[in-house]
């Protein structure tokens, strides 16, 4: 399906990542947002609040992030495409409702423009330290989809991709920005609506008098684990609960139902990892060392990589555009061929653990940590590359 022209601001713009993300949401067809102000994310909802009255959308500033993160889910069941936007402290408050969205299979996008933490931390300065919270922050077991843009252009592009994935897999999707990409100004090209592909919401084909169960795979092809949605007012009378439930949506609190439900919820992501995962590689074919990074740090690595290459070293580069699910298949393949991975990230060692896990002790894995507040000095990354080269 092509994008609805109402939301698409076709043209070449000079935008920061926050504003570009807002335009991405509008282009994706989002028509509802609820938020609570927090630096460095607020510009996203400020732009939505200004633009929605011209595109047929609604923004409401709620009383806190708990409210914002559940108001959007009410809106989705009311038929909207919705997002909320926050940063560190607000991201923590939204965790219960991330779980509610996963459990009830409510599609929406949650943006975290990462800043330094823990607690109030560095409100105006960058970090990439919520990456494990993105993966495991809500209680219980689940799989999550998280994307990490490296530029304002990518904030736009990946916002659309985040909405598309959320609809396709009927699940919340996280857009893990950081203060740098959120606030840096660059050229952002917004294509014309017919060049933007939108994944339409899959609604049940059942009529109002037919029996519809919100978690039944009856209308799915073999192997498709994503049941079609409904919304209020259709006469389907769904019951939606965060309790462990059966296909009817009715509470079914026992070990067997738990195993069946959680099994499907994780498998709908795990079985489609190849479709969900996007990575970018450069020079990995014959590399000795591969630098693995994401978000703004993936750009900060570039001078270090160029310098090492100029000195004749075979340094490859792999950028995680999708961070969760983690591209373990590819990292495992590469782990069999290279002598080391270098993993720069703006935290004290999060994604590096995944690289280590997938490496299973074969190549060396060297994290390049940074507590946040500023991006890395490329020199540190260069030194790490030289160090693992021995």
């Amino acid at each position: 399906m092509n994008a609805d022209p109402r939301g698409v601001l076709t043209g070449s713009h000079f935008l920061d990542g926050d504003h570009a993300a807002a335009e991405g949401a509008l282009a994706a067809g989002a028509n509802f947002s609820a938020g609570y102000p927090i630096t460095p994310s607020t510009e996203v909802v400020e732009r939505l609040a200004g633009r929605f009255p011209f595109t047929g959308g609604t923004f409401i500033q709620m009383e806190d992030e708990l409210a914002a993160s559940i108001a959007i889910q009410g809106a989705v069941w009311g038929g909207s495409k919705a997002l909320t936007v926050t940063s560190g402290p607000g991201f923590s408050l939204m965790m219960e409702h991330l779980g509610y969205g996963i459990m009830t299979e409510t599609p929406f996008v949650l943006v975290d423009v990462q800043r330094g933490g823990p607690s109030t931390g560095l409100p105006t300065m960058p970090a990439q330290a919520d990456m494990m919270q993105a993966r495991w922050g809500s209680h219980g077991d689940y799989e999550i989809i998280a994307l990490a843009p490296s530029s304002p252009q990518e904030c736009f592009n990946l916002m659309i991709r985040a909405f598309n994935l959320s609809e396709k897999y009927r699940t919340p999707v996280l857009l893990m920005m950081d203060e740098c990409v959120g606030h840096m100004l660059e050229r952002v090209v917004i294509p014309s609506p017919e060049k933007i592909q939108i994944e339409p919401r899959r609604y049940t084909r059942k009529g109002p008098d037919e029996q519809y169960w919100p978690y039944s795979l009856e209308e799915c092809n073999n192997g498709d684990l994503v049941p079609p949605l409904t919304k209020v007012g259709e006469g389907h009378f769904p019951h939606i609960t965060g309790l462990t439930h059966d296909d009817r949506g009715y509470p079914a609190m026992n070990a067997k139902s738990q195993a069946v439900l959680l099994g499907r919820l994780v498998d709908k992501i795990r079985n489609n990892a190849d479709d969900i995962i996007t990575i970018e590689e450069d020079g990995t074919d014959d590399a000795d060392v591969i630098v693995v990074s994401y978000g703004i740090t993936a750009r900060v690595c570039q001078p270090a990589i160029s310098r090492a290459r100029a000195e004749g070293h075979k340094v490859g580069f792999l950028r995680l555009v999708t961070v969760w699910p983690f591209p373990e298949k590819r990292i495992r393949e590469l782990a069999g061929r290279v002598s080391a991975f270098v993993v720069p990230e703006m935290n004290l060692g999060q994604i590096v653990r995944e690289v280590e896990r997938c490496s299973q002790g074969r190549p060396k894995v060297r994290g390049v940590t940074h507590a946040g507040g500023a991006v890395h000095d490329p020199e540190e990354i260069y030194n790490a590359i030289r160090e693992v080269m021995g």
Binding site: P53, I70, G74, Y100, Y250
Partner: protein, 304 residues
């Protein structure tokens, strides 16, 4: 049925004491019966009043959504054959807010407990009332947290016993009608589940009135609050409601505090008109943006 009970059934117009099916069955998910509520619990009575109120009302069943939080009362959503949402603890109101904004044609009813709406969800309550978005909030006040074993709630009367105040609570409880009125609710009433007819009528009025409408439904939790405070059983609690109720429509809500064994002021206290969030929003954006304002598709023809 005991003989003495039969002897008291003398009123020829009273409803038959037995029937083949539950008269409000068509509103219930009968495939979920039996429900979880204890014998004598007041929640079921409130549901009975609610279903009769919607039956009598002009509302189209397809356009009613029920949203609950977590708790014994929170389970109401799961038993009603309506679009029904069992959300998270305390967050029924913000969920309902999003739902209403996305689908204004839907009559959104929030049905939840006193702890859910006024402890963990208290902040949402005051803001929802202030915004005056069209929705009806029905609160079962059983003076404690039923679901988790009878802990103290923001409604527990002073000196009453709860599992976490084993020697009596010393906090001043909320006066819910006063709170609702001061935050901007356009309709505020209180009834006990003894007052089924009045409660039913009041729910219907609240459902049919635009804006944020609120009803406190005083109900026994015989398993916990009633037993722990040695107030007898569910029936004894209802008898005490009959005895202590003071029906005073239009009462000053400042005088509606509830204490242990004191009067229970019941009635309709507030019924005013105030522009609702949706109509205000549309009128204002039309004024400032003129023809450039694009109303959300789902609002067309619903919001004036």
């Amino acid at each position: 049925m005991s003989e003495s009970y039969e002897a008291t059934v003398t009123d020829p117009v009273s409803a038959p004491m037995t029937c083949d099916s539950n008269p409000v069955e068509e509103w219930l998910r009968m495939d979920r019966m039996p429900h979880i509520w204890c014998p004598g619990c007041g929640i079921g009575t409130s549901v009975n009043c609610f279903t009769r109120a919607i039956e009598e009302s002009s509302l189209d069943r397809k356009n009613i959504a029920i949203v609950s939080g977590i708790g014994c009362t929170g389970r109401v959503a799961g038993y009603l054959l309506l679009d029904s949402f069992h959300t998270t603890h305390g967050r029924a109101l913000p969920f309902a807010t999003g739902l209403k904004l996305a689908s204004p044609k839907t009559k959104v009813v929030v049905y939840s407990g006193d702890g859910d709406l006024f402890a963990i969800g208290g902040n949402h309550f005051i803001h929802a009332a202030r915004r005056n978005l069209d929705m009806t909030v029905l609160c079962v006040n059983n003076f404690n947290y039923g679901m988790t074993g009878g802990q103290v709630a923001p409604t527990t009367p002073e000196f009453a016993i709860a599992s976490t105040t084993p020697y009596g609570s010393v906090e001043r409880p909320f006066n819910l009608p006063y709170l609702a009125q001061s935050c901007g609710a356009v309709y505020v009433a209180r009834w006990t589940v003894y007052h089924v007819k009045q409660l039913q009528r009041s729910i219907r009025e609240a459902l049919e009135k635009p804006g944020f409408t609120f009803i406190e439904m005083v109900a026994p939790c015989p398993t916990l609050f009633v037993r722990r405070n040695r107030l007898g059983d569910g029936l004894a609690a209802l008898e005490s409601y009959e005895e202590n109720a003071v029906i005073k429509n239009g009462a000053d809500t400042r005088e509606c505090d509830l204490g242990m064994g004191g009067p229970i002021v019941c009635g309709k206290f507030v019924d005013i008109d105030r522009p609702s969030y949706l109509s205000n929003q549309v009128a204002h954006l039309r004024k400032v943006l003129g023809d450039r304002y694009v109303m959300p598709d789902a609002w067309q023809g619903v919001v004036q």
